[in-house]
């Protein structure tokens, strides 16, 4: 099997080894990995090719959506836990990083990882407290936590309370002025997207990932098979929180201000769930396809005079249609329709 070539139709069902080593050795043995990476690379360089700021801003939002959806997919798609208030990690990470930049004069490049760390620590603590809840109870708890953190920040003077914090524009000088800053933050988000896509693939085809998938399918059975479910779930939750925390710092830094309503906007959470479900939960490619499709639709709807106020209603309708008719999402549907593409559409 180690010498099997890619692609002949019946061999395509064979998922081959699961070790990442083979990516280095086998090259094209893992088409799904290269497809996902290739899509991000091509998408990421679109603004360079077109050379316009409009494209850069569009791609910034798409890449950010892709990495947020891919992060959510680790806990939602791989582990089977619906984190409804996932935006809390984006908001809290953003706040911690923004505070360090605005008040203590930290560099963005230091504050962003610290924001990610803060989100990770929050997930670690939450994991101990709420990951024993199942199904709707867990989802409800995550909503409650987002609301609780928002209320806390709203009353927390250090973070500016309800007004939030603002950044002095002079800060951007250290990054070569506002224009250069917009490019460097763009590349930072691009880099994070690459990292989360590689991480998504690495986790899915690792021993740890197999344990997560087992939890998703049947948590009791997983436990009886030997998966240390409490710690596996907690680490999945932590891993799904770190990148959103870092993105929060970059996003609000670019935005030059942060306030509770923007940081902890619950409907953004729901939009990420729609993205993951639309693309195909539990697949590496799904969040990529789902986030891109959804963001493209969203910007179309927002600019259309007819639909601009109905964008959220549209998201709700879309979620309903997916759950009713294509619960496995675009990638999942393609996988079941064209079984010969299994190894490409992971």
């Amino acid at each position: 099997m180690s010498s099997s070539k890619p692609a002949p139709a019946d061999k395509a069902l064979n998922r081959g080894g699961f070790n990442l080593e083979a990516i280095k050795l086998g090259g094209w043995k893992y088409p799904a990995f290269w497809l996902a990476l290739g899509l991000v690379l091509i998408g990421g360089f679109v603004p360079v090719i077109t050379g316009t700021n409009t494209w850069r801003e569009t791609m910034f939002l798409i890449l950010m959506a892709v990495s947020l959806a891919s992060s959510l997919n680790i806990i939602l798609g791989y582990t089977g836990y619906v984190s409804f208030g996932h935006i809390v990690f984006f908001g809290l990470g953003g706040y911690v990083g923004f505070y360090l930049i605005a008040v203590h004069g930290w560099s963005l490049w230091l504050a962003a990882p610290v924001g990610g760390l803060a989100a990770g620590i929050l997930a670690l603590l939450l994991g101990k407290a709420i990951l024993h809840l199942r199904g709707a109870y867990f989802a409800l708890a995550t909503i409650g936590i987002n609301e609780a953190v928002r209320t806390f920040v709203n009353n927390f003077d250090l973070f500016g309370g309800p007004v939030g914090l603002e950044l002095n524009f002079l800060v951007y000088k250290d990054y070569g002025g506002p224009a250069a800053m917009q490019w460097s933050t763009y590349w930072a988000v691009f880099g994070l997207t690459l990292i989360i896509v590689v991480l998504s693939y690495g986790i899915k085809f690792s021993r740890f990932g197999l344990g997560l998938l087992a939890i998703r399918e049947d948590e009791e059975a997983a436990m009886v098979m030997g998966v240390r479910t409490p710690s596996a779930k907690t680490w999945a939750y932590v891993l799904s929180a770190i990148v959103p925390g870092m993105l929060g710092v970059i996003f609000f830094f670019r935005n030059s201000s942060i306030a509770p309503p923007e940081a902890f906007r619950l409907h953004r959470s729901i939009e990420f769930i729609v993205m993951v479900m639309l693309g195909g939960q539990g697949t590496v490619l799904g969040p990529l396809v789902g986030a891109t499709t959804y963001e493209a639709l969203r910007s179309f709807l927002l600019t259309s005079p007819l639909f601009k106020d109905l964008q959220l209603a549209f998201a709700g309708l879309l979620l309903l249609l997916i759950v009713l008719f294509v619960p496995t999402g675009i990638v999942g549907w393609l996988r079941s329709r064209f079984r010969s593409l299994w190894r490409i559409l992971e």
Binding site: L13, N14, R15, G17, F18, N19, F205, S206, R207, L210, G211, L213, A214, R216, E217, D218, E220, A221, A222, M223, V224, M225, G226, V227, R228, T229, G282
Partner: protein, 254 residues
């Protein structure tokens, strides 16, 4: 604390209460290394509950469970399997959306030997070959039929490379040909030196594979002995009288 009288598993005065209901009452028995111990009893006697107590799914109310000389009373299921005790479920629990191979690999990865993925795949393929599931390796577990799911359940437990295997009605729902095949599989697992505790309602099959049999009724151990002794034990016959069909099977089964 850690005592060893040569038995692989020692169950000592185990009691399990659910609120006011005593599901398992003061049960004590040993399984010596290499034996097949049959566990029978009427429906609702507490057989599966006893399994759940042994492998840590339910914490026990009183008593002690010693495995390989280690007191593992009230350990979590994932720690129990690491010590080398694997089980199957009466109602099969395949990981539906994973392939047959992935199901068994998970067993090998997280079982007694804690194998890395590449080795887990080798072990899984070996076990699938043994259970005649190798050609199904890339199918989703959800798409298997009942007999195949039963074998998958067994494959997953075997891939954990256990010292002791708890089999919960692996023959239920199978046709006579499949039963005969499965009995051969159990005997071959035993030949490999794996100790087995087996719950079974298919009496003639159980009598064929077991070295000794214990009988549970209303959560209490009412008899213990060789298969031939058990079927003639008046206590056992009485326990089964509530279920005449089973009693008849038992009488003719030896």
């Amino acid at each position: 604390m850690s005592q060893n009288n040569g038995a692989l598993l020692q169950v000592r005065n185990v009691t399990k209460e659910f609120g006011g209901l005593t599901a398992v009452s003061n049960v004590t028995f040993d399984i010596p290394q290499g034996q097949v111990l049959g566990l029978i009893g009427p429906n609702g006697a507490g057989k599966t509950t006893l399994f759940n107590c042994i492998n840590g799914v339910f914490p026990i109310t009183r008593g002690q469970i010693i495995f390989r000389g280690v007191d593992m009373t009230n350990w979590k299921p994932y720690d129990v399997v690491r010590l080398g005790l694997a089980r199957t479920h009466q109602i099969v629990r395949p990981l539906q959306e994973l392939t047959v191979l992935e199901n068994v690999m998970a067993g090998a990865c997280y079982g007694h030997e804690q194998r890395p993925l590449s080795q887990a795949e080798e072990i899984a393929l070996e076990v699938l070959e043994f259970l005649h599931l190798a050609e199904r390796r890339d199918q989703l577990a959800a798409n298997l039929n009942v007999a195949q799911k039963k074998r998958l359940e067994m494959a997953r437990a075997l891939a954990a490379r256990p010292y002791l295997l708890l089999l919960d009605e692996v023959l239920a729902g199978l046709n006579p040909t499949e039963i005969a095949e499965m009995v051969q599989v159990v005997l071959r697992i035993r030949e490999q030196g794996v100790t087995i505790l087996i719950i079974e309602h298919v009496m003639h099959a159980l009598m064929n594979v077991s070295d000794r049999v214990i009988v549970l009724d209303h959560g209490e151990l009412i008899a213990e002995g060789l298969p031939g002794e058990i079927v003639n034990d008046p206590n056992v016959i009485e326990a089964y009288l509530g279920d005449p069909a089973l009693a008849e099977k038992l009488m003719s089964g030896g």
